[in-house]
């Protein structure tokens, strides 16, 4: 492998462009180029998507029919735990960081990210973090089996030995995220081209700026939570142990003070992506740009004030429950504003439905479904019946799979012609969309029903009345999983070749990356600041 690349390198030696990338494997290890690092992040996230997805397949296989046929309950719990952790920290978050790396500099007219060496480091921490996390599956005690929310004392006194590896992996992911966030903020605030005022920035840049502040605010909280776990496990503290004067519920407060903003970390950049794609294919400017910015900021601020709506059954005082209910349902106001703005952007447009637009429309419809079930969950008294059932599972998969993941796939189809200079195969892209969309609804929609009918989440086996819908759900799950393997084929095919994309790529595309850069852009773009009208 190494020899081959060296040969390739010497073969291309008469290329005297000193601004091109280095050759060989070391290009990727030592790179400080925002485009390379963006690519690395996106590949890591794809690998993690397939890894986390394969664990979802194990889960759906075991739940295909009642009874225990394939895996033991202990292993099943490891699968749900690792699936959640890998998808949240490995698939969704790095994908957005990858998009930020690729897009923010070329959207604001900057030559690169503000802190390129730190950028390299914040990526290269991640493969080690996830290798360490994944290695726990092969340890004697098995992987962590306490859910991605790792509630104490199940994760402290009762946690398996591998929990310490999990703690260290979470620390590494947190360090990486915080460094990435600092880089985004430094880039956006310092490196905009002259004339690119804050209120002229594309919404993707705005939403990422807000997301970066959320990351800086809450990743240290997560680090604090796992550190307290570590000292409870090994150094005789009792933060979460009532027998020593601590409180297991305090763990949940700390976790969700991180966890709820984390949810918005995974959806705000998606809002930015959809706000870029819809106007392009409606050939009409985004409706209500400034209200979109304000709505994003309001959602971010509210996200710090609603965490305990994940805990309506822990026995909070009634005043606390009332407050968290009111604050939670209030979030639907700015979120609604966003959906209404997108729909109004389409209204009286001149729409075409290329693959990125299909994924964006799928996002709006299914994210709205997930948002509405979120409103139902926010009503505290009824949450008594919904909490910890498959209704919740259906809800958060609608916002995270058909929300966050759909926006990432939409972004791929929308910007990949710009990145590679190749158009993807439109027919395959559309097959990918319809295949995924039918499958994902077969997968998650029935989970609303089994949840309402009383099936708790995180169980490896279930009572007979849930059998039919679980089987339907599993069939949808296998089909959705296969669709993403098909996506891998489309990605590789597009990178290898395809019709030449124009610089503009899309008829209705706007923004510096489409108006002022070639497809693909030069390795070092905007070495001189562009002019922004």
């Amino acid at each position: 492998m190494y020899n081959e690349t060296t040969q390739d390198g010497s073969a291309a030696h008469d290329d005297h462009d000193h601004h091109g990338p280095a050759k060989g494997l070391m290009r990727w290890v030592t790179t400080t180029n925002h485009k390379d690092i963006g690519t690395l992040y996106l590949w890591l996230s794809f690998i993690m998507l397939l890894y986390g997805g394969s664990m979802a397949m194990v889960i759906r296989l075991e739940l295909f029919q009642p009874g225990l046929q394939w895996v033991e309950p202990h292993f099943f719990n490891q699968m749900t735990t690792m699936h959640g952790l890998v998808m949240v920290f490995g698939a969704i978050m790095p994908a957005f960081v990858g998009l930020a790396n690729w897009l923010i500099p070329i959207m604001i007219g900057a030559p690169d990210m503000a802190l390129p060496r730190m950028n390299n480091w914040s990526f290269w921490i991640l493969p080690f973090a996830f290798t360490m996390l994944a290695s726990t599956t092969f340890m004697e005690s098995g992987a962590p089996a306490f859910g991605w929310t790792f509630y104490a004392p199940l994760s402290t006194t009762y946690g398996p030995d591998s929990t310490d590896f999990f703690i260290f992996a979470v620390h590494l992911m947190g360090i990486s995220s915080v460094m990435g966030a600092i880089n985004v903020i430094a880039t956006i605030l310092n490196m905009r081209a002259p004339g690119m005022t804050l209120m002229k920035m594309p919404l993707f840049v705005w939403t990422w700026l807000i997301t970066a502040y959320l990351l800086i605010a809450v990743m240290p909280v997560l680090a604090g939570a796992v550190t307290m776990m570590l000292t409870d496990r090994h150094f005789g503290t009792s933060f979460f142990d009532a027998a020593g004067g601590g409180d297991p519920v305090m763990f949940q407060h700390i976790f969700w003070f991180f966890g709820h903003p984390e949810v918005y970390i995974m959806i705000l950049p998606a809002f930015g992506i959809i706000s870029a794609i819809i106007p392009t294919f409606a050939r009409k400017p985004l409706f209500g740009y400034s209200s979109m910015v304000y709505a994003s900021a309001s959602i971010a601020i509210l996200s710090f004030m609603v965490w305990a709506h994940h805990m309506f059954t822990v026995g909070m005082p009634v005043a606390g429950e009332l407050y968290f209910m009111y604050a939670t349902i209030l979030i639907s106001v700015p979120t609604g504003v966003k959906v209404f703005n997108w729909v109004t952007t389409m209204w009286k447009g001149s729409m075409t439905f290329e693959t990125p637009m299909l994924w964006a429309l799928g996002f709006i419809v299914m994210f709205t479904i997930g948002g509405l079930s979120g409103l139902m969950l926010g009503v505290a008294p009824v949450d008594t019946q919904y909490h910890d059932t498959y209704f919740v599972v259906a809800h958060f998969h609608y916002v995270l799979v058909t929300g966050a993941l759909y926006s990432i796939i939409a972004a791929f189809y929308y910007w990949v012609p710009k990145w590679t200079g190749h158009m993807y195969d439109e027919r395959l892209g559309k097959i990918h969309f319809w295949w995924s969309t039918i499958a994902v609804n077969v997968l998650f929609f029935p989970q609303h029903f089994i949840g309402l009918a009383g099936m708790p989440r995180r169980i490896p086996d279930y009572a007979l009345q849930f059998a039919e819908f679980n089987m339907i759900s599993s069939i949808g799950g296998f089909a959705f999983g296969l669709a993403q393997v098909f996506f891998l084929y489309i990605v590789i095919k597009t990178i290898k070749g395809g019709p030449k994309a124009s610089d503009r790529v899309w008829e209705g595309a706007t923004g510096l990356e489409f108006e002022q850069l070639s497809s693909p852009p030069p390795y070092h773009s905007f070495t001189e600041a562009p002019s922004v009208k």
Partner: protein
């Protein structure tokens, strides 16, 4: 092996599809929605759930209708020319204020129901303490001196490979909780180990049971019947295997049941005074072991390497009886090994210890009498 599984799977896919086709007929009991339940609160919650649900449906339909209209009519292929409007403060204010008013409409009934839901303290007729234990429930009638443990019935444990023959699979227990109808029952929840959540949908009671803290909730059951539920908070390996069965009966039947429970407890205490034979202890011990110990230490005593120690060849099991008694009676702090003195009576502990020492690949040869357990408490 794999092929067998695959063919079994494909045949069950076919059956599943068939049963879906026949659904309206065959699935009379099939539920798509939340239960209305049998308590005043559960009915309030159902009403509130349907209210919010229909509001969501209306909002969803409106938004999607506008979208669909736009997608069909404002497409380039139909010759639509794009307008350029992109701002309207009036519209933005309207669609900020209108949802706010809807939210207030939801919040008012929700607040009333929540205040009702949280009123467990006033006028309770019966106080029942519910203790979550990995992976079973302990019920203690605070005023009656009746206490028992309820765990998954053996008839469910026996069919985990193919449960289709067992109608109440995973929703049946060895000892049902019997409660009277028409009385206000106050539940007090706590836990011996990790966090569990006691949930019976028909009673609309779902409350976390947390080690070191006490939560409460309440119910007035209006209709006699059997109501089934499950643990709702991930509590470890057998989280999916700790069901709840509430049998709601009339007051006289309830009193009769209480008297029966007290008589049983007295008989068990008397049995603890007797000398037991090795054979009887081992026979009883096997049942106790399978219900209480096998989840972690394995049905054959193999344990789970790295997580739960094996019984076979264990130094404690094969060592001095005092050490063996101590770990079962008092548990081991800082580990999953619970203290069983509050869960099992003297005879059961003596029986399971004797069983462990003389079975599961061990052959110490001695036996432990209930009196030894009584002294160790």
């Amino acid at each position: 092996m794999i092929f067998n599984k695959l063919s079994r799977c494909s045949s069950s896919v076919a059956m599943g599809v068939l049963s879906m086709l026949a659904m309206p007929v065959a699935q009379a009991e099939y539920k798509l929605n939340m239960t209305e339940g049998v308590t005043p609160i559960s009915q309030d919650l159902y009403g509130l759930h349907m209210l919010v649900f229909w509001i969501c449906v209306v909002i969803g339909v409106l938004v999607f209708a506008v979208m669909a209209w736009s997608i069909f009519h404002h497409r380039k292929s139909k010759g639509a020319v794009a307008s350029n409007f992109h701002e309207s403060t009036t519209i933005e204010i309207i669609w900020t204020v209108a949802p706010l008013l809807i939210l207030i409409g939801i919040a008012i009934p929700a607040t009333a129901t929540l205040l009702d839901l949280e009123d467990a303290k006033t006028n309770a007729d019966i106080t029942l303490q519910v203790t979550g234990i990995q992976w079973k429930w302990k019920y203690t009638f605070v005023d009656e001196d009746v206490s028992f443990i309820s765990s998954l019935a053996q008839s469910s444990r026996d069919v985990v490979k193919d449960p289709t023959s067992n109608e109440n699979y995973l929703l049946e227990v060895d000892n049902e909780l019997v409660l009277p109808v028409g009385k206000k029952i106050r539940f007090l929840f706590h836990s011996n180990d990790v966090i569990h959540a006691w949930w019976v949908p028909a009673l609309a009671v779902k409350q976390d049971s947390i080690p070191g803290f006490i939560n409460d909730s309440w119910a007035i059951i209006e209709k006699p019947g059997i109501y089934r539920g499950q643990c709702a908070e991930l509590c470890g390996k057998d989280h999916g295997f700790m069901p709840i069965v509430v049998n709601a009966v009339s007051q006289p039947e309830y009193e009769e049941w209480l008297a029966g429970m007290k008589a049983e407890a007295a008989a068990a205490a008397a049995a603890g005074e007797e000398e037991w034979s090795m054979q009887d202890l081992v026979a009883r011990g096997e049942t106790v072991y399978q219900a209480n110990c096998a989840a972690c230490h394995g049905a054959t005593g193999a344990g789970i390497p790295g997580a739960f120690p094996a019984m076979t060849g264990s130094a404690i099991v094969n060592g001095d009886p005092a050490g063996h008694i101590d770990i079962v009676v008092n548990g081991k702090t800082g580990t999953s090994m619970a203290s069983f003195k509050g869960q099992l009576n003297d005879v059961d502990i003596a029986a399971v210890l004797t069983y462990e020492r003389n079975s599961l690949g061990n052959s110490v040869g001695d036996m432990i009498q209930p009196s030894a357990i009584k002294n160790a408490r």
